[in-house]
Amino acid sequence: MTHSDGSQSFEMSSTPGTEVLAKHGKLSYLSHLQCSGCGREYSFQEIHTFCPDCQSPLLSIYDLEHVRQELNREEISRRRKGMWRWHELLPVQDPNNIVFLGEGDTALLQVPNAGKALGLTNLYVKDESTNPTGSFKARGLAAAVSKAKELGVKKVIIPTAGNAGGAMAAYAARAKIQALIYMPKDTPHANVEESLMAGAEIVLVDGLISDAAGMAGEKARAEGWFDLSTFKEPYRMEGKKIMGYELAESFGWSLPDVIIYPTGGGTGLVGMWKAFAELEELGWLENTKRPRMVAVQADGCAPVIKAFEAGAAFCDFWIDAHTVASGLRVPKSFADALILKDLRDSNGTAVAVSDQSIMEAQKELGRLEGIFSAPEGAATYAALKELIRRGWVQPDEHIVLFNTGSGLKYLNPNR
């Protein structure tokens, strides 16, 4: 609350990290929003989607100089676990607006059996399946719904390949915000059920996520729903970027050599690359070495791979997208330019894998490590094999695979 003398104080909250507010008196150091295309700046105190001038995604810019002066990394490490212990670097201003369901601080598992099978000594899986609603989507939607609540939004809409819809439904339910979800009619059953269970309204679309996006966008414009589509609002990326902060902390404030990431919309990949830049500016890293980022897609929907290999700055819309990994069935990301730029800036690469190799990888991760991964997560293991075949990774490099969700969400109840 704001006092008569202009100073601010906050109620204590059960949300991790916010107990220390009395010391700093400031929950977030968000400074402004900035267009990733033309650089135009916007206030974070108003509702924004993407840049109206050039129609590129907006980025959240923080006053990192003051964060550096007033906070140290050890303090964050001492806080109770959860994504919001990094609240200075997240966009919410008032702790009462934080919608927390337990997201963040997922396990970074060393996977020695899989590593041995592949001839690698330092292989890890960042296992996002323990997030609320069983996938990494919880992080982005926690941030986006919390900020939407803070900005007074009453109803949110999203097109989804599945997991983002389930996550939005859960956070919107807790925030008492109305939720409407457009998803392909062949979306995994669990995503439909979890969304309905959380009280969301669902429209099943005869098409892909791009079709759902077109319909949701039209509905949003016509009826004033706030659109939480990937990169069409600025804050989902902020939740996802915390994966990058957690990795740095887990590796003793340095970064792994290679990160292999399944790339549909690309929020996590772009978000982590942003986190690494922020970490460097904060002076929290032990060295300046950055990971090589690898985008993984299915060969039935590989717009990023095609554009990366062609040296293009944007992706072509992928015709006839199909893959068992529903989260990778994104014919063209709204942030394709950012994804491609970050891959190149990191000296990374892009790899397409077949559905068959994804299914084999899923079994292998289960058999060797007891991880029942989402097919998107398994795709990273399949891609790693291809990178080994190409000689692109070295046996002693620190390599992180991202398992973005639980395989349990993809069970077919009719089988």
Partner: protein
């Protein structure tokens, strides 16, 4: 090569956004808000590229593309056509390419991508 671009689009906001973006790069924009008007303008003028919305109030963008490609005016059988649509319904991209469009873009139109797509066919004046 000239710098004349025809944009067939019934949404005034999109029209204004694209006009601003392309004129800033030195292109000359011709405008049509209906499919039939667009075809007529393309027949009457020498255009170097056509931006084509799919959802138009009279004939749709697919039909516009088909009519342009079967025109007796030879230049229209090869003029680059970039399809732009908000309702990316299932198969729309395929339909646009099958109707004779060269490239498919979905809205919202990222201006940097638009510049890149246009410049691939018509160099900046």
């Amino acid at each position: 090569m000239g710098n004349k671009i025809l944009y067939i689009e019934d949404n005034p906001d999109n029209m204004m956004l694209v006009q601003r973006a392309l004129e800033a790069r030195g292109y000359h924009l011709l405008k049509a808000t209906k499919g039939l008007d667009g075809v007529a303008t393309a027949e009457a003028e020498d255009v170097d590229l056509i931006l084509l919305d799919i959802n138009l109030p009279d004939i749709d963008g697919y039909e516009v593309a088909r009519r342009l490609r079967s025109s007796e005016k030879r230049a229209l059988t090869t003029v680059p056509i970039i399809a732009v649509t908000a309702n990316a319904l299932k198969g729309d991209a395929e339909k646009a390419l099958n109707a004779g469009c060269d490239v498919y873009m979905s809205k919202p139109i990222n201006i940097r991508e638009l510049w890149a797509r246009v410049e691939a066919f018509v160099p900046t004046p």
